[in-house]
């Protein structure tokens, strides 16, 4: 079925998702090569987060399938890292930053086993990567928005995945944090990892990403940023509002 020569990190075929019989995603085909930083962009309600969640089996899909490095989700699960939107959890939960990062290792630990010293070391390593090692023992409620986002990033980093999915990692973080996160993601790419990011800010697309998927329920266009991130495609994804949208976040 997939006989391309370039290795593919993510291959989506005919994916359809519907909420209460209204399509949220319609017949999506997408292929993202290995070792790129890819942005999924599109207007509000385009189904960007839904796409990630459907691919990761977090929500049911009406049709279609996704393959990772040519494998099924079950087979490839240990090679996939996920950073959900930081607003999806309660940050007043009674736990420490280090503890949250260690949660990234729970899946590999297996049933009943508790995280120990090795997991602690790994988590501390990831925290120093994101510059939060001094916050390891802090309660997560004390973190600022940007620090929360970096904590979630560290939790994905400990998974040592080959393919990362991130849902709006730059939402409501300051410029310094955004730069720090971008640096980490680009380092991942340098090491041959693939990063797929749901992104909102059209202005930074060409700076950050080398691959783009433009989405508005249907897949409008996808390919290298040069080829796909064109005014024409943007107009098709956003309608006529694109000039306005490039200057103001929705």
């Amino acid at each position: 079925m997939n006989t391309k020569t370039a290795p593919t990190a993510l291959e989506i075929n005919d994916l359809t998702v519907s909420y209460h019989s209204k399509p949220a995603l319609w017949d999506i085909d997408l292929s993202i090569p290995e070792g790129v930083m890819a942005a999924i962009i599109g207007p509000n309600g385009a189904g960007k987060s839904t796409l990630i969640k459907a691919v990761l089996n977090l929500i049911p899909r009406a049709a279609g399938e996704a393959r990772f490095f040519g494998l099924s989700y079950q087979q490839a699960r240990n090679r996939i890292g996920y950073v959900p939107q930081r607003g999806s959890v309660d940050w007043d939960f009674p736990t420490s930053v280090l503890d949250v990062v260690m949660m990234g290792l729970y899946g590999k630990l297996g049933w009943i086993k508790r995280p120990g010293k090795a997991e602690r070391e790994k988590a501390l390593g990831a925290l120093s990567q994101v510059g939060l090692v001094d916050f390891a023992e802090h309660q997560i409620g004390q973190l600022s928005g940007g620090q929360q986002q970096r904590t979630f990033l560290a939790r994905a980093l400990v998974q040592e995945a080959d393919l990362y999915f991130m849902d709006e990692p730059f939402a409501a973080v300051d410029a310094v944090t955004e730069r720090a996160i971008v640096d980490i993601l680009q380092a991942l790419r340098t090491n041959g990892k693939t990063v797929v990011v749901v992104h909102h800010d059209l202005q930074t697309v060409t700076d950050y990403f080398d691959y783009v998927a433009l989405l508005n329920v249907e897949m409008i266009a996808s390919g290298t940023t040069e080829a796909a991130f064109t005014e024409d495609n943007l107009k098709r994804a956003y309608g006529g509002r694109v000039a306005f949208l490039t200057h103001q976040e929705v």
């Binding site: 990761l56 959890v89 009674p94 009943i112 409620g141 004390q142 944090t177």
Partner: protein, 345 residues
């Protein structure tokens, strides 16, 4: 602000709170003894049962509160009533049969709520409210039907509404011990799974954990705790014994493990205190007494817990204001300067 909140030893505060509960219980025992309560076999049994029950509900209540399922607990305990009455009609007054009936009724209510939210656009709270009302109303109708029958055996069935500890016998306590030990064992075994499920179910699912299974398991444990306590606390107030200890415990600690242990301790305090107080007057329903004790713990915790308590917050705000100068006096807003250093939010 963030730094101010962190400037206390969270573990020491939790130990202090636990110790406070023990001291308060000793005080209550002393006062009860002084006012003529004799600690006979019955009262000892009841106190033991109340303490163990509170321990179990406190442990599970932590998860219910953190998962925002407090109202679900209320719905499930009310929903147990028709099960109790139907079990009585079918099987007679054997406690184990009544509790199995209660569990079945609660579990069907839980399934109904989840089916309702999944297949319709009815929201969670509305689904819980309507289910609570429907099951409880059905239970009340059945109860009045049974009470109208010329059958002496039904006497005391209405105690399930408000709870009656005096009826507790040793075998009931053993049942609480058995089920409670099993519940605690499962929580210990699945500790990291339950923790992850509670904090971030989506991430748990993305990491291959069977979230629906874990979710049902945890909810079933909560149902087990509720059912176990029906005879003591009653269907109406059972939720208080589930929620109040956890709410209080959350005030004192920043660690899930400490919160669960402390919540268990607070639950044990509330359960045993309610039982002892009902020993003063047998006509007093045990459930309300337990809940009053639990809510006293909540009150103290909400007011005085370091870090999160109201008194602490007011005091630290005042200290902060003194440190940066009163914003009302100067035109410059020092608070703004502080905020910008604190990265967004």
């Amino acid at each position: 602000m963030a730094i101010l909140r962190g400037r206390f030893n969270s573990e020491r505060a939790a130990w202090g709170a636990g110790l406070g509960a023990v001291l308060a219980f000793i005080l209550i025992l002393t006062v009860a003894g002084a006012s003529g309560v004799t600690f006979d076999h019955t009262l000892r049994t009841v106190t033991m049962g109340g303490a163990l029950l509170g321990l179990v509900t406190g442990v599970l209540g932590s998860f219910a509160v953190l998962r925002r399922q407090s109202l679900l607990g209320d719905a499930l305990s009310h929903a147990a009533l028709p099960g109790v009455v139907i079990a009585f009609i079918v099987q007679g007054r054997a406690l184990s049969a009544l509790l199995i009936g209660a569990a079945i009724a609660s579990l069907t209510a839980m399934a109904f709520i989840s089916a309702l939210t999944r297949t319709t656009k009815i929201k969670q709270d509305a689904a819980q409210g309507i289910t609570l009302a429907a099951w409880f109303a059905f239970g009340l109708i059945l109860l009045s039907y049974v009470q109208g029958r010329p059958d002496a055996g039904q006497a005391g069935l209405d105690k399930f509404i408000f709870g009656q500890a005096a009826a507790l016998v040793q075998s009931d306590v053993l049942l609480i011990v058995g089920v409670g030990a099993l519940v605690c064992l499962i929580v210990a075994l699945f500790w990291k799974e339950f923790k992850l499920l509670t904090f971030d179910p989506e991430f748990a699912a993305a990491n291959g954990f069977p979230v629906r299974f874990l979710d049902s398991l945890l909810s079933s444990l909560i149902v087990a705790a509720i059912v176990l306590g029906l005879q003591l606390a009653g269907v109406i107030l059972m939720v208080g014994l589930l929620i109040a200890p956890a709410v209080a415990a959350r005030q004192w600690t920043q660690s899930l493990g400490v919160m669960v242990l402390l919540s268990g301790a607070f639950g044990a305090f509330a359960g045993s205190t309610g039982a002892v107080l009902s020993g003063v007057d047998v006509n007093m329903p045990t459930g309300p007494l337990m809940i009053v004790a639990a809510c006293a713990v909540v009150l103290v915790s909400v007011l005085f817990a370091p870090g999160r308590g109201i008194v602490w917050t007011v005091m630290s705000r005042r200290r902060e204001r003194q440190a940066v100068g009163r914003p009302s006096l100067g035109g410059v807003q020092p608070v703004m300067v502080k905020r910008s250093a604190d990265d967004g939010q």
